[in-house]
């Protein structure tokens, strides 16, 4: 087991224990910047941990980042780990990131679905949902990206517990979702929310549950373009972008829509890279290039949130 975050192998996939241990190391190495917060527990009782990056102040405007809500998308926590280390190590060195952290806090949930992630390492590599039990069904789990209170139960969801897009019995039924909802609403000052998935190479903004455009459509569209343009500068990876419903498909009860409907204007969802050849089994050698290019897009969004307070 790596004893500090400099020895950690960022170019390979890691188990839940390894990631949680790495979080402790990061917190220990950057005590003035990083705090690990437990915001809840998963269905099977695992801690739901968030890394808080803060240079002080109280209840500063904040940015939310999450990876790994769909358990099998391993590239997203891997990107999250690299990015969190980048935030910690670049503070005080990179002027733009430093300026963000001097006015805002960043909260980063790296394993948003710990039960599912554990299950993909031990039993079923293709698992996507949570691991909660559905009364009356032998099928386990809810799609946590259909479980949010944003057009809950609308198009693009399934009421069949055996489906990969099962919405759950009621909104926020999943502790993995409810913990975030309670934390963000309790905090009350989030200005950006970025949820990271894989593998369709897209950057999307609300809505997914309706074809109605948001009042901020133009600004979000322009920002999305600048983010994907920045991303492409590193390795030429081409992303499509737009509202969720026009870019990928109708999807209700999603994180990004919930964020927007709850007052977080800069609410986005990423679909990280894949060549279309591997699916969720993106070779480990692609972790660092993926994380590096994603970082450029993340910075564009975070800088915009910093420079356009509301």
């Amino acid at each position: 087991r790596d004893r500090n975050t400099n020895n950690f192998d960022y170019a390979s996939y890691h188990t839940l224990d390894e990631i949680y241990s790495w979080m402790d190391s990061l917190e220990a190495e950057y005590p003035d910047l990083v705090t690990k917060i437990q915001i809840g527990s998963s269905f099977e009782g695992r801690p739901i941990n968030v890394l808080k990056f803060s240079t002080g102040g109280s209840n500063r405007p904040a940015i939310w980042l999450d990876t790994g809500i769909h358990a099998r998308e391993w590239i997203t926590p891997a990107t999250g780990i690299w990015s969190a280390k980048k935030i910690a190590s670049d503070y005080g060195r990179d002027p733009s990131l430093t300026a963000i952290l001097n006015t805002m806090d960043i909260f980063f949930e790296i394993v948003t679905n710990p039960d599912g992630y554990y299950f993909t390492h031990t039993s079923n590599r293709m698992w996507r949902k949570t691991r909660s039990i559905n009364p009356g069904s032998s099928c386990v789990g809810v799609d946590p990206n259909r479980n949010w209170g944003a057009g809950f139960g609308g198009p693009g969801t399934s009421t069949n517990p055996c489906s990969e897009t099962y919405l759950g019995s009621f909104e926020h039924s999943e502790s993995e979702v409810k913990s975030i909802v309670d934390f963000i609403l309790g905090h009350g000052n989030f200005k950006a929310m970025i949820t990271i998935h894989s593998y369709s190479q897209m950057l999307m903004y609300p809505y997914g549950y309706t074809s109605t455009e948001t009042p901020n459509q133009q600004e979000l569209h322009t920002l999305a373009k600048s983010a994907v343009d920045a991303l492409a500068t590193l390795h030429g990876t081409k992303y499509s972008y737009g509202s969720m419903i026009t870019t990928i498909y109708p999807a209700s009860g999603t994180t990004a829509d919930w964020g927007y409907l709850n007052g977080i204007k800069y609410s986005f969802t990423f679909e990280l890279r894949d060549t279309g050849r591997y699916g969720f089994l993106l070779p480990a050698e692609q972790i660092i290039p993926t994380a590096q290019e994603t970082w450029l897009a993340l910075m564009k969004i975070m800088e915009h949130a910093r420079d356009n307070p509301y």
Binding site: D9, A11, S12, Y13, T122, S123, N124, R125, M126, R128, G156, N160, C162, E164, T165, Y199, S200, I248, Y249, P250, G276, R277, Y278, G279, F280, L281, P283, A284
Partner: protein, 93 residues
């Protein structure tokens, strides 16, 4: 531990709304235990579907008989998983 020996992932390209509808019908056939990685929505977007070995013949016959284009994106899911596992062990060493 669940194994995926012989399972394939097909990349399906629908060329009309009718074919999208057919793919949605395929999606509803629960006994095939298909896992749609990208769902059938519009012709411009490819559909990726993980097909367990037991259902491969049925699914390919369905696609071919309806003139729906597809190609095998992952030939054997288990082989890829084994490679991934090996890579993880190696990096841990």
């Amino acid at each position: 531990q669940k194994l995926f020996v012989g399972d394939q992932v097909l990349r399906v390209t629908a060329s009309s709304e009718e074919q999208i509808t057919l793919l949605k019908e395929l999606q509803d056939l629960e006994h095939l235990k298909l896992d749609f990685w990208r769902e059938p929505v519009k012709t411009a977007l490819a559909v990726d579907v993980h097909v367990p070995f037991a259902g491969l013949q049925a699914v390919k016959a369905f696609l071919e008989s309806n003139g729906i284009q597809y190609r095998v994106m992952i030939d054997d899911v288990q082989m890829l998983l084994d490679e991934e596992k090996e890579e993880m062990f190696r990096s841990r060493d």
